[in-house]
Symmetry: C2
Subunit: 265 residues, 2 copies
Amino acid sequence: MNSVVKLNSMEKLTIVKVGGKIVEESISLKKLLSDFSKIKGNKVLVHGGGRSATALASKLGIESEMVNGRRITNAEMLKVVTMVYGGLVNKQIVAELQAIHVNALGLTGADLNYMRSEKRPVLDVDYGYVGDVKEVNAEILVDLISKGVVPVLAPLTHDNNGNLLNTNADTIASEAAKALSGFFEVTLMYCFEKKGVLLNENDDDSVIEFLTQDLFDKYILDGIVKGGMIPKLENSFEALKAGVKQVVITRSDQIHLDAGTKMML
Amino acid sequence: MNSVVKLNSMEKLTIVKVGGKIVEESISLKKLLSDFSKIKGNKVLVHGGGRSATALASKLGIESEMVNGRRITNAEMLKVVTMVYGGLVNKQIVAELQAIHVNALGLTGADLNYMRSEKRPVLDVDYGYVGDVKEVNAEILVDLISKGVVPVLAPLTHDNNGNLLNTNADTIASEAAKALSGFFEVTLMYCFEKKGVLLNENDDDSVIEFLTQDLFDKYILDGIVKGGMIPKLENSFEALKAGVKQVVITRSDQIHLDAGTKMML
């Protein structure tokens, strides 16, 4: 078999990243997991949990400090996110997925050493115990997925030197997607508050169905895509260039539908 | 091959249960994990975390109520133990084991649905979200162990209906040991504060090296074994009768040594 045939015969894999209050409130989480279970074939779920972490920290008298949208993670805050991301949110999702016959397995980067990171160097900002991903052991995930297991990835990695590190869930999702694109035809799905990338920010139904690099560049020039959306979409194109087949920007209640903005090279 | 040969050719597996402050303090945990890593062959670690759970609950203004040595687990306390057992303690152990080249994977009963329980019926006491183990899917653990993975089991199970349940770590260890005894020659090791079962409670070095059912019965009559030790040892004999090869009662700093009290049928 030549490599083209091999590529064509690759199985599909959908990686869904969902954060925000959807995974932190009982009713919306149940709906999300029900929709997630309807996605056909191989799948992976990546979750956040920032609101719960902030709430727990607050109850414990630990101040939450954010810089550029990233959480400053001192030793106390690392314990909080380990408890909330690795325990509370991850295990509740796993238990609820099992109840609807999805064979979930909760993982941090330390588990099976599937994702290693290094503590972010201190430049202008000391983010504390925050990890930049350095290595994804994709074979470990492939082996699990090939057995019908659905990995549920918490936004925690480790430095393989005994330290857990806080790592942005979007990054976990894109790094996993890139590493798995050698084994699967990967769709990386990001859940936003809107139904997709909007042509008109005041019209929630003006979803851009397809977005290529050329269109993206044009939309930036036209001022249609702006602000914080630009780096998010740039990261998506990075993932596509690294082998991910498709990135979908959608709303969490649409993950099981053919909806949202589809980005391809 | 007849069944005797098959039994003789079974690989060994050591299941170590350790609780108390050993797993909750950084220095003693490092020593424990180093010793654990020296145990040859297949192994499983089962941990507690009660002191940390009590401490977190206290900081959050949640009262810890114990009846017969068991924690009453209301909805708020279930969140606390899910965070502490499934997150804080479990993930720190996994990260530190990875750092010393032990390929650890943290699991609650919900992960891969490896251990299912049912909420304890309310008789004299309502224990709340506490689970009695009903089913262990041993093959899942066997598959992992056969690949060199070291499962790290948190004292949490699930009812396969979306609910996590608090489950005593001793019970997790004995239920896993019994289920795995069909696949391995299992040694179940309980870490106590003493070096083993003592012939003379005032002499820490008077460790009983071997304990059979006959000797146990005799020691009870003689008043040598008494109090809370009796049900613990009775549970160990139950595990032996269910197929576990050997139960060892030892101190946590001796788990890698041929020490402690060995119980066999």
